[in-house]
């Protein structure tokens, strides 16, 4: 019997929601790490009991937590045991030091600040953790200020893939939420090909496992930057792919929903009949590569659903033709937002869609978006949602 585990990061802790394959009755476990901001949790595709968690605080900085039993117990990798005097130093699992070494690193110079001046690079937090598809001990971290780190020992230590900052890093600028590397997509057919996205820099791709990167933003137009067609500087909110067609990417940009059919070399707009093409998350149906989901938000100045109606929009045609999905979602007086990492899908036969809101609701649809039910209504503001389909 299959089951589903939904990993929810919130402003005040982590929650784990579980159900059998019917996805009608749910249990809610948590909060874990109460009082801390949990930017993201994600399980290893090869070992679902291995879950990585980004725990962060303005006071106490970054912590990485890891569970090896499906979220029942947690440890800080490398710092979990009391060391004997003969042990090597532990507790470096939260050390995200930009690589400035002559061999593999890049000089740590500056990036663009909100006002166009240059600003020093400073580590703030981990936004996104992406476990490898083949090795549970390999995991990537997208951080603020934007950079990509990799751990090959289960999160005990991290090393920056510094070549990314060479992709015009001096022109990257923070979005309203900061200069965060928020999306990491590993090509399931080629682990050396990885796509990432940064606000407000754009999307980037490596084809050699992170040794070199290039901006992939041709076709994006952004009126809020001096050159609307610039190679970098676009505020990409989220990108998504279907494992069966990893060269096709879908993007929710600050404004505009976009698509590429050639791994990001060229993008074209698919906003079509959306009521507004501003929003944050975008995701793809587990079994239908042309079925995609977005949550339109009124505007960049008003992060609320249009008309107070919370509507997911689905396209079954890979974009342009969109239908509102409202059954079970509040259709009046609703003013929550859905953040970029707060939507996910399961891979059961009837694909389940999930999203969390800044109002603390986590909604589930067990039928591809036709009907929705809140799993839980009153969590802290939801920052991220991931789903594990357990066989």
């Amino acid at each position: 019997m299959s089951s589903v585990r939904v990993l929810v990061g919130t402003r005040k802790g982590a929650f784990i929601l579980t159900s059998d394959g019917q996805r009608k009755n749910w249990s809610v476990d948590g909060p874990h790490f109460t009082g801390w901001e949990i930017y993201h949790l994600k399980g290893s595709p090869t070992d679902p009991n291995r879950i990585y968690c980004s725990q962060t605080s303005s006071w106490f900085g970054q912590i990485i937590q890891r569970s090896d039993d499906g979220g029942k117990t947690w440890n800080t990798p490398g710092g979990e045991t009391m060391p004997s005097p003969y042990d090597p130093p532990g507790g470096v699992s939260n050390n995200f030091a930009y690589d400035t070494s002559p061999g593999t690193g890049r000089p740590l110079t500056t990036h663009q600040w909100y006002d166009g001046t240059q600003h020093p690079w400073e580590f703030k937090r981990v936004w996104h953790l992406e476990p490898s598809h083949t090795d549970p001990d390999v995991v990537y971290a997208g951080v603020e200020d934007a950079a990509m780190f990799r751990s090959t020992n289960g999160g005990q230590s991290w090393h920056e893939l510094a070549a990314l900052r060479a992709a015009e890093g001096e022109k990257w600028a923070p979005g309203a939420g900061g200069l965060g590397l928020h999306t990491i997509l590993i090509d399931p057919t080629n682990p050396d090909r990885i796509y990432i996205a940064i606000s407000s820099a754009g999307a980037f791709r490596t084809d050699d496992g992170g040794q070199s990167w290039k901006p992939i933003n041709r076709g994006l137009k952004s009126e809020y930057i001096p050159d609307p067609d610039a190679l970098v500087g676009h505020c990409v909110h989220r990108i998504a792919l279907h494992p069966a067609r990893p060269e096709v990417l879908y993007m929710q940009k600050h404004w505009d929903v976009m698509r590429t059919d050639d791994a990001g070399d060229h993008w074209y707009e698919i906003s079509g009949n959306l009521p507004t093409d501003f929003g944050f998350p975008i995701d793809v149906h587990a079994h239908e590569p042309e079925t995609i989901y977005v949550v339109p938000i009124k505007s960049d100045s008003e992060h609320i659903p249009p008309e107070g109606k919370l509507r997911v929009y689905r396209s079954r045609t890979g974009g342009n033709d969109w239908e509102p999905l409202t059954n079970g979602l509040p259709q009046k007086d609703c003013y929550v937002n859905v953040l970029r990492d707060a939507m996910a899908v399961d891979s059961l036969d009837d694909c389940g869609i999930y999203f969390g809101t800044t109002g603390g609701q986590v909604y589930a649809s067990p039928d591809g978006g036709d009907t929705w039910t809140p799993i839980v209504r009153d969590l802290p503001a939801v920052l991220s949602v991931e789903v594990q389909t357990l066989k």
Binding site: F60, P83, G91
Partner: protein, 98 residues
């Protein structure tokens, strides 16, 4: 023994109940106390002072004997009462928010 009181979230992270008592070798300073604390509780590295620079994190404060010593040079000897363990060293999350 030097007594150290940690903020709630760091006590939970280090899995300790309330106060930590540590032997500190040599002169008792913020540096030597934090070195000893991080040796015993390595999960606290990076949470009180930054990795690398070892600078105090911006929203952390140090109090001793009713004095704010957050901005004292880190190699200044701490008050005798703290070194002797009759008064605790307080590591505090700054009041921020409302």
């Amino acid at each position: 023994m030097v007594r150290i009181e940690l903020p709630y979230h760091l006590r939970r992270l280090a899995r300790i109940d309330r106060e930590v008592a540590l032997d500190v070798e040599g002169t008792v300073t913020m540096t030597s106390v934090l070195d000893a604390l991080e040796t015993h509780y390595p999960m606290l590295r990076g949470t009180i002072r930054e990795h690398g620079t070892l600078k105090r994190r911006p929203l952390i404060r140090f109090f001793a004997c009713r004095q704010d010593i957050s901005h004292d040079p880190v190699d200044t000897p701490l008050p005798e009462a703290v070194a002797a363990g009759t008064e605790p060293l307080l590591i505090v999350g700054a009041v921020a928010g409302g």
